[in-house]
């Protein structure tokens, strides 16, 4: 691991009213790392990502990008967000623009990229994600999986240093999950640094360099996937994984799924 991590969270606290959602989170993400956040709903996964992207202001601690504090008063959050892409569970595509314009909007308006160059790059990204045919369609004409791939392309068009994925498959029909996970897998192979909040345990096990188990706003346990899934130390982690398996949400952890073979 490099001396200076790409992203560092130090004792991050976040409150919504009386509710403490994050209670002192420490996390280092090195360049090229793929970190998966797992944990029950409401444990703070999404909030952690939103804080890292500065969409939600934090109430305590600091967040550093390449060693530079981005949560201080002096930072311009708009500039920071250019370098940290985030993809949401509900896609959040702009419904009044076609797919191509969705992808080119930020490069053109934020980076001042000429339209032709922005469109060339957008076409490259959309080709790569299997959306070459859909560039002139409006989002409501696409399937959920296509919309989510377009949203990932939109985030990548800004060439972020870091990509945050917030339960990007949770809103999808089961048969559409695979196509989105394939895209993310390809990104991981290309060396993209990612922090992924997910309920897909098999996928997390396959793709992650490190798994963080969040419980009630703290990272209770972290480590390589084989350790977290194979021999979790914390009782809470064991209980959570057991529940997941019982719920049948990680069928490929118990049966001979693709996740098993990857280890």
């Amino acid at each position: 691991m490099n001396a200076v991590p790409l992203l560092r969270l130090e004792q991050v606290y976040k409150r919504y009213g009386d509710m403490e959602v994050l209670r002192g989170v420490d996390l280092d993400v090195a360049e090229g790392d793929v970190v998966c956040l797992i944990g029950a709903s409401g444990c703070g996964k999404s909030t952690l990502l939103k804080c890292a992207n500065l969409i939600e202001p934090i109430n305590g601690g600091r967040i550093l990008l390449e060693g530079e504090e981005i949560t201080s008063e002096q930072t311009d959050p708009d500039r920071v967000r250019q370098h940290i892409g985030i993809v949401f569970q509900a896609f959040n595509l702009f419904p009044h623009m076609n797919v191509l314009s969705n992808v080119t909007l930020a490069p053109r308006r934020v980076l001042g990229m000429p339209q032709r160059q922005a469109e060339e790059r957008a076409h490259e990204l959309l080709d790569r994600f299997g959306l070459a045919e859909k560039t002139s369609e409006y989002p409501d004409r696409l399937s959920g999986g296509q919309q989510q791939r377009a949203a990932i392309a939109r985030a990548l068009a800004m060439q972020p240093r870091l990509l945050l994925l917030d339960e990007v498959t949770s809103a999808l029909d089961p048969e559409l999950v695979g196509e989105v996970l394939t895209v993310i897998r390809e990104l991981a192979e290309s060396g993209m640094t990612m922090v992924i909040a997910t309920h897909e345990m098999g996928f997390a096990r396959q793709i992650a360099d490190r798994i963080c188990f969040l419980f009630k706003g703290v990272i209770l346990e972290q480590g390589p996937p084989e350790q977290i899934f194979g021999s979790p130390r914390e009782e809470r982690t064991q209980a959570f994984l057991k529940r997941i398996i019982e719920a049948g949400r990680a069928a490929d952890l118990t049966a001979a799924g693709p996740g098993r073979e990857a280890i």
């Binding site: 708009d78 967000r81 949401f88 959040n92 009044h96 909007l105 930020a106 308006r109 934020v110």
Partner: protein, 292 residues
Amino acid sequence: MSGIGFGTPIEPPGGAGTSTLDTARRGSRRRNAIISTVSTVVFFAIIIAALAASPGADKFIDSFFSRTGFEDSFEPIAEGFWLNVKLMLVAEAFVLVLGLLVAVIRSLPGPVLAPFRLVALIYTDVFRGVPLILVIFMVGLGLPALRLDFISDRSVFTYGVISLVLVYSAYVAEVYRAGIDSVHPSQAAGARSLGLTQFQSMRFVILPQAIRRVIPPLLNDFIGLQKDTALVGLLGLVEVARAAENYAAETFNFTGYTMAALLFIAITIPLARTTDFLINRDRRRMAATTAA
């Protein structure tokens, strides 16, 4: 009272699938159409009969619907009405811009902008509350009395436009604001997460969606504005209502008022139908997207 039975889908030809239920339904539909037609005719017949039977009917028709009255009053009244159309178009152009500006200011977050938000809030509260007729007097008689350069030597037309813009921008600002609030916060989050500034997010993501949604209510306010241009006549501008008044004063015949009313209706009815059409289209589109 509308023509029931017009928009109904075409029934399949009576084949094996035609049940007695279908026949019964078609029968009841025809019966509904007949009932609605008859009730419409009866309704209007009663009103007309009541008016015609009133003791002053002849006098009334002569004063408000005289043939020569229509012929003679058309020119001066149409000329006056043209002034109303100009007032409406000029005022509406400013209203659309100023209203949007006020709405955007009211939607901006951040403690630094609090005074601006307060000014916008006071503006909308005051000008939605004060009757237009008072604003017209205050602007039309007050501004000239100030004896300020640029402000006090304007034409009555300009004061009329200023009054209309002041009042209607306040209404329209609220319409825009409702549109802005109706765009889901996740859209702003999506825009800001890409590094777009507050302003860029408003300009490229929020407003295009918001404005599309509020076009029908904007048209409604446009109709209101169009009618209210008649109040500017109070400042002595010979717009349509004044022209009708003048005609009545000269001829002791009120057909000029009818003429003026017809001209207004000739513009407001197409606008109202367009509004209805847009609202229905949006509703259908919404139903289509939720079903998908």
